[in-house]
């Protein structure tokens, strides 16, 4: 079907503001991505996949300004031993980053990788392209075509510490497009951390190839800058007996759309995507997940919890697709919201599409208020109502946080959640 002229115009208007970096091995992939993007057009609010989230501000030619959060709070993960890779408003900062040297992994900046031949060529835009079917993800194609920076991470062993990407936002009008590639060899294992608001508007894409028996852990805390807007994509392919675990904490943010597209292509693989979101007031948070089972005896889990108040909006679109032959699939999906007042809303679209006959898939979605019985129980023990409400809120979020395998990281996330709640206690 031909695109509507209005969509073509909107897309071209946006493209006019961008310059495609044209050097070396990635050029062909970028040009392909631009063709994909032109054929689908940027999202508009009439698109089914954008029914609950207005894409306007993510798509418009110029990013809206976002004030930089002033805080003396110690950034998350700061106390951990890690390899730091810092981006300031979407530009790699060599000064603030550690040397990109760590045993068991090779790290290179995307903007520096200009040779004609590069291992990343086999992945850059490849998983993104695959993830465009059956649902179009135009902002990811735009990212592949126009990303100006990012890192290429090739994991060959088991690095001794996590690789930590820190996104600093210092300019009110920054508009950043980052693209990362993570390739994990057979049996290798890595933990990637991400934190910070990145820019006034942030478009980020991460493509992850997890080879047979390899392991990928991902813990992300999206920055608290209230006015920031972000559209992020994770595309992952999982080999036989591999493990993929991703957790995202989102507190504040006037617009966030996190898409995660996973394909389980080898038998006995495991994928978990989890998220905890805290929204107060002008907050819109969308988790869109698509997990495809295309192998035997794989397990996938989607665990999303949102706490919403003062008119905040949470969205969940989660799908499990079990292809013919993907027998013994174990798929689990839960999306829940805790609505702390009547002005807030949670919109959920859980989907299962199953073409195999020997599978176990379960899904649930709920919206509720604080449990009055439990609140009374805590208060009857002397815990003041504000603190008791926070305890129950953390209790609600616990199921998502527990998906983080590393206890120290889970504790770090819990502390952030508790601090966020305490700051807002009446």
């Amino acid at each position: 079907m031909a695109l509507a002229q209005v969509k073509i115009d909107a897309t071209e208007e946006r493209l006019n503001t961008l310059d495609m970096p044209q050097e070396g091995w990635s050029t062909a992939a970028r040009k392909d991505a631009l063709m994909r993007l032109r054929s689908m057009g940027l999202p508009s609010r009439r698109d089914e996949y954008w029914k609950y989230t207005r894409p306007d501000t993510l798509v418009q030619p110029k990013a809206l300004d976002a004030a930089v959060l002033q805080t003396d709070e110690v950034p998350v993960f700061d106390a951990l031993e890690r390899l730091k890779i810092v981006f300031v408003d979407g530009v790699f900062s060599a000064d603030e980053s550690d040397d990109l040297v760590l045993e068991g992994v090779a790290i290179e900046r995307l903007a520096d990788a200009t040779a004609d031949i590069h291992w990343a060529k086999g992945l850059y835009g490849v998983l993104e392209n695959k993830g465009q079917n059956p649902v179009e993800r135009p902002l990811a194609a735009l990212n592949t075509a126009y990303a100006t920076d990012g890192v290429l991470i090739h994991v060959t062993g088991k690095p001794s510490k996590p690789i930590s990407m820190i996104y600093r936002h210092i300019s009110e009008s920054s508009d950043a497009i980052l693209h990362h590639i993570v390739k994990i060899d057979k049996g290798a294992e890595v933990t990637i951390l991400e934190n910070g608001p990145a820019a006034a508007r942030f478009n980020k894409c991460m493509e992850i190839d997890v080879a047979d028996t390899a392991t990928f852990h991902h813990v992300r805390a999206q920055g608290r800058d209230h006015e920031r807007r972000a559209a992020t994509h994770v595309f992952a392919r999982l080999g036989t007996e591999s493990t993929f675990k991703s957790f995202t904490l989102t507190a504040n943010g006037v617009m966030t759309r996190n898409e995660c597209v996973i394909e389980l292509t080898g038998d006995d693989a495991h994928a978990t995507v989890a998220g905890a979101a805290l929204g107060d007031g002008d907050f819109h948070h969308d988790d869109t997940v698509f997990i495809t089972h295309d192998a035997v005896n794989c397990e996938s889990r989607q665990v999303f919890k949102k706490v919403l108040r003062n008119g905040a909006t949470g969205v969940f679109q989660g799908k499990i697709l079990v292809k013919a032959g993907a027998q013994k699939t174990d798929g689990y999906q839960i999306s829940q919201s805790l609505l702390l007042d009547e002005d807030s809303q949670f919109l959920a679209k859980p989907e299962l599409e199953i073409y195999a006959d020997d599978v176990a898939c379960s899904h649930g979605s709920t919206s509720g208020a604080i449990d009055e019985e439990a609140l009374f129980y805590l208060r009857s023990r002397g815990v003041p109502v504000g603190e008791a409400t926070d305890m129950l809120t953390l209790s609600f979020l616990a199921e998502a946080v527990e998906e983080i395998e590393d206890g120290a990281l889970a504790e770090e996330i819990n502390e952030r959640l508790a601090a966020w709640l305490a700051r807002r206690r009446d």
Partner: protein, 251 residues
């Protein structure tokens, strides 16, 4: 200690009167038991005293140590020294039992203007008390009441009571769902807390709990009122003849 006068209580949601003029005084150092058939208003009395929502006091008063209980929030009542051991303790996934206990203890201390307990002091105190209630380290670490057996939940209530050191303890059908051994353990825990400064109100259907927690005074409640008061022998009378005779006698 606890003074309840002519207490009338209705449900907020529907026009139904549950308590129809309860008069009761519990002195420091005494154990009072309330017995009565189902629906007589025993549990409602415990909820109204501890401040649960959904009830409306239409007449009468209740005060603890001279403070008007009905005017203050549940957490303030707790800090004042009131404790309710729940018939059905609530499960709270994701909140560790120790975290919960420590928050409760220190919230009360803070409310009373006392110093908070340090982590080491607290740990020592919990371990001592947990040991005598046969509560192991695992139960202390697990989320509050999650996956606890009926007996474990009740022992956990008594542990909270021991840690919070309340002045007035209300036990709401603490014997329900307990086997004989578990009941003995719970009763021992309660008896260990009996002292001159502390009052108890033990609500139960059956006399058997009162074999282990010996009451000073026994009240029979029926249809929202206390209809008869006597010594421990009154509980034995209920055990032998049921409530019917007593109710017929006072009717």
């Amino acid at each position: 200690m606890l003074n309840i006068k002519n207490l009338h209580v209705s449900l907020e949601e529907e026009d139904k009167q549950i308590l129809k003029g309860v008069d009761l005084t519990v002195e420091a150092g005494k154990v009072h038991a309330i017995m009565g058939p189902n629906g007589s208003g025993k549990s409602t009395l415990s909820y109204v005293l501890s401040g649960k929502e959904g009830y409306e006091v239409t007449e009468g008063s209740a005060d603890l140590l001279g403070e008007d209980l009905l005017e203050i929030d549940p957490e303030e009542r707790a800090a004042l020294g009131l404790f309710l051991a729940f018939q059905y303790p609530v499960e709270i996934p994701g909140v560790g039992n120790m975290t919960f206990l420590r928050t409760a203890v220190n919230s009360q201390r803070k409310a009373r203007g006392e110093d908070e307990m340090s982590a080491s002091e607290f740990l020592k105190a919990v371990r001592e008390r947990a040991k005598s209630l046969k509560i192991d380290a695992d139960m202390l670490k697990r989320p509050v009441n999650v996956g606890f057996s009926g007996g474990e939940k009740k022992r956990n209530e008594i542990l909270q009571m021991a840690m919070l050191e309340p002045k007035m303890c209300i036990l709401d059908e603490t014997d329900s769902g307990l086997d004989v051994d578990a009941m003995k353990l719970v009763a021992e825990g309660v008896n260990a807390l009996r002292n001159e400064g502390r009052g108890f109100l033990v609500i139960t259907h059956y006399q058997r709990l009162l074999d282990h927690i010996k009451p000073d005074v026994v009240h029979i409640m029926a249809n929202g009122r206390i209809v008869k008061t006597g010594g421990p022998e009154l509980a034995l009378e209920v055990e032998q003849n049921g409530y019917a005779d007593i109710l017929a006698e006072v009717a």
